[in-house]
Symmetry: C2
Subunit: 479 residues, 2 copies
């Protein structure tokens, strides 16, 4: 063993913005969960056989099979000899050829343009055009790899006139936004979603939040997640119009996280893109600056590992766009397998193509499993003593509120924990379910919540059985 | 068309660190090259039929076929039904099963740990152990996706005691380091490589550079690229020892960019990893902080598009490592196809396995093409009037020096250009070859160079014929 060396890089001198990073879904609970899994593997007896970890929306990790068509095309693209294999359908081969023709040297082994393969960007624009009934310009599209939001946020200068730049973020939050704001030295301005109105975005709250924030920063960005993570609301068109007017009035750059646009579970709800609403509102709103993000990790494709997604960057100042494109070349290009997946997200099999029937069946199976799970978890949670959970209109999360008995709140206080964290730790240790307590995600003071992701329906049923038993026992114990 | 909107995000208020980004290999020359390609496509007559763009080391973009084994395994991993296909060899299936077993839910569609799939990290450690004859700990390994160097550099605080943190970077440079330093608000400290000694790193120059730098910043990181990009030197063991002693004396964190470790073309040269040398030097050097980087984009695999690589992070302060690992979870995980490629980089077919013979043949073909190209381009350039080019000992670049006639220097001055840029623009327009003039990469004042990457040998011959004719004509014209 080498003698202990005086470290050059220590906690005392590392970048404080990096040091502050704390991902609530990757915190101490996950460490306990992994420990429990090790104990189970080593034969230690527990009241459960498997730890269920609905901490990150990742359907395939929970056993959901992938969409066959997606994997067929991606495998051909990687091993083009499969173009000669009669077991692969013609539409898969056509998609693969299209992608390969867009690659330098005809190979996905080469770097692409930093913004992604041109033909895929063109197809994304066509997809958006059909979705919204409004044309999209392919040069406004960039392909990305889980890094799109960071690429955009880092365009904003840290401060002006001695005040930091503010980024308005919904609370309860999806932690990526506060983590990136922190990393880029921007000031996080939280605005609360209205739980009593199924997590609607109230413009009065937006106004109050920005007025307060202006005392310490210059708010420049408004982040909207629709459908909501972790709150599952689907914004109405009217609500979106209000938000756009607010952003216009306050000179805010709109950042619309729309990655759950294919995850809507209630008949009466429909996804309205910010782009569509803003455009249809006409002047002066139709020329506002907007960045909208979409991903292959969610929806029904659920290919989290391939890191594929796209952004539509609207009405960016042309000179800024030059800088933006230049700054994106630093990382050379997004991974090609992820780019291929984007092609399949926007060009799935069409009616009449050989893969169509199977594709529709598989897509429906994923979405049915999600929908059934969404309904079941809401119904089940609302049947628990002291628990209320808004309808999951969309996205992939439940975010129930728990009214704890006074004794539980006191017990937590004694342990210097929040009650929701105490509850989550006991749930993990007693029921083998790892959720994210809301103390890391933000909640109205005096209310307590946790976040769980939707998981395939079979596993969901097992989880809810365990959760029900745990909750009853917990409430009895602290009554 | 919407009325012109007053933009919120403008050149006047964007992040100045992002605005400054300028990638010399993605600059105005590449824009001209793309324009020329469009003209050729539209039938405009030019003295060449195709623009050759050796600006980024990307062998597959230039027509080099991929390694069959690599693509077979990656396609099985993506479409595991291929495990039943008798056309795929058993060793490819074994690698694929190993990777899939390491994935959550047995699918590469799920997120992995932020540091990468554990079994692949273990195999990387075994690979390093065999390479160096010194054990490697798998927990020191992280898999990355072209973003590893940034992940490390951003750990360093921007400043202390009112002085910026300095990063020592070799000149002529590989632009990534200055771009990232700039993005993270670190101070770039250049040190010159010694052209007269085949781009050796002189510790006298390091000393002079750091002494000068200390007046304005606190140097904390020493970047070494070995084999060198763009200069192609392979450091001797004795030179590495000197560098390590210098870094120790000056309290520098060592960042060893060793992505070209498989690209060595001269018999007498051998790759020595910084880890190996540092460890063998014993105390106190063997416990120094070091980060070493490796990639699937270079070597003989040349899978640029999959974005796969790894880093070995040695002797990091344990508390800092906790922060480092936490900060890496923000991006969730590197793309799984790239991770799979790393497995194949460190576990190629072994003697006796069914894919071995073909693998060796293909590997040799790539490396022979690179070696032959390296020898040919050096020999050819050195035969040109006024040109001298150091031997390409390793990596994938030639970096020749040109002594321009006075008239060329004056012509450039009149156009407010550097002579090497004038030369490169004329080369592009007259010979259809797009290289990177060294004015963007740094060079000793009064000397002029350009950078070209190695390309497959057939294309290299075409390029050199065109280059020779262009150079003769250029020299004649400005004589």
């Amino acid at each position: 063993m080498a003698a202990e060396h005086q470290h050059f890089l220590t906690l005392d001198n590392i970048n404080p913005n990096v040091q502050k990073i704390q991902h609530p879904a990757r915190g101490p609970l996950l460490i306990i969960a992994v420990e429990l899994e090790k104990e189970l593997k080593n034969g230690v007896k527990k009241p459960f056989k498997e730890v269920i970890k609905p901490v990150v929306a990742d359907f395939q990790a929970m056993g959901q099979p992938p969409i066959t068509f997606v994997r067929q095309v991606m495998s051909i693209v990687i091993y083009p000899q499969l173009l000669d294999d009669p077991k692969f359908p013609d539409d898969a081969k056509e998609r693969a050829r299209t992608i390969l023709n867009g690659c330098k040297g005809g190979s996905i082994g080469s770097y692409t343009e930093a913004s992604g393969i041109e033909i895929i960007r063109r197809h994304v624009a066509e997809f958006i055009g059909k979705r919204d009934g409004i044309p999209s310009n392919w040069e406004d599209i960039i392909l990305c790899a889980g890094d799109g939001i960071g690429k955009l946020l880092k365009l904003f200068s840290k401060e002006a006139n001695g005040k930091k730049t503010g980024v308005m973020i919904p609370i309860p939050e999806y932690p990526l936004y506060s983590i990136l704001s922190n990393e880029y030295d921007l000031h996080q301005v939280g605005y609360y979603l209205d739980e009593s109105q199924n997590w609607r975005i109230n413009t009065e709250e937006l106004q109050q939040s920005i007025d307060e924030a202006k005392k310490v920063c210059i708010p420049k960005v408004l982040v909207i997640i629709n459908p909501g993570n972790p709150t599952g609301q689907v914004l109405t068109r009217e609500n979106i119009e209000e938000i756009i007017k607010f952003a216009y009035k306050e000179n805010l750059y709109l950042l619309a996280d729309e990655v759950y646009q294919n995850n809507i579970y209630l008949e009466d709800f429909k996804f309205h893109s910010f782009k569509k609403v803003m455009t249809e509102m006409g002047e002066p709103y139709n020329s506002m600056e907007l960045a909208s993000f979409m991903s292959c990790s969610k929806g029904y494709i659920c290919e989290c590992g391939c890191r594929g997604g796209f952004a539509e960057i609207l009405n960016m100042c042309p000179e800024v766009k030059v800088v933006f494109n230049k700054s994106n070349t630093v990382m050379l290009c997004p991974p090609t397998a992820g780019q291929a997946c984007v092609e399949l997200l926007v060009r799935p099999p069409e009616k009449g193509e050989p893969s169509y029937e199977q594709f529709i069946k598989e897509k429906k199976a994923v979405l049915d499993s999600l929908r059934e799970g969404a309904h079941l978890i809401v119904k089940t949670l609302n049947s628990f003593e002291g628990v209320s959970c808004n309808n999951i209109q969309g996205a992939m999360y439940a975010f129930p509120q728990i009214r704890f008995p006074q004794k539980a709140i006191e017990a937590a206080k004694k342990q210097h924990q929040s009650p929701d964290k105490l509850y989550a730790i006991e749930m993990l240790e007693n029921a083998g379910i790892c959720v994210v307590p809301a103390d890391g995600l933000g909640q109205v003071s005096g209310t307590y919540h946790f976040r769980t992701t939707l998981i395939p329906i079979q596993k969901m049923k097992i989880m809810l059985d365990r959760l029900e038993a745990f909750h009853r026992e917990f409430m009895d114990r602290y009554r």
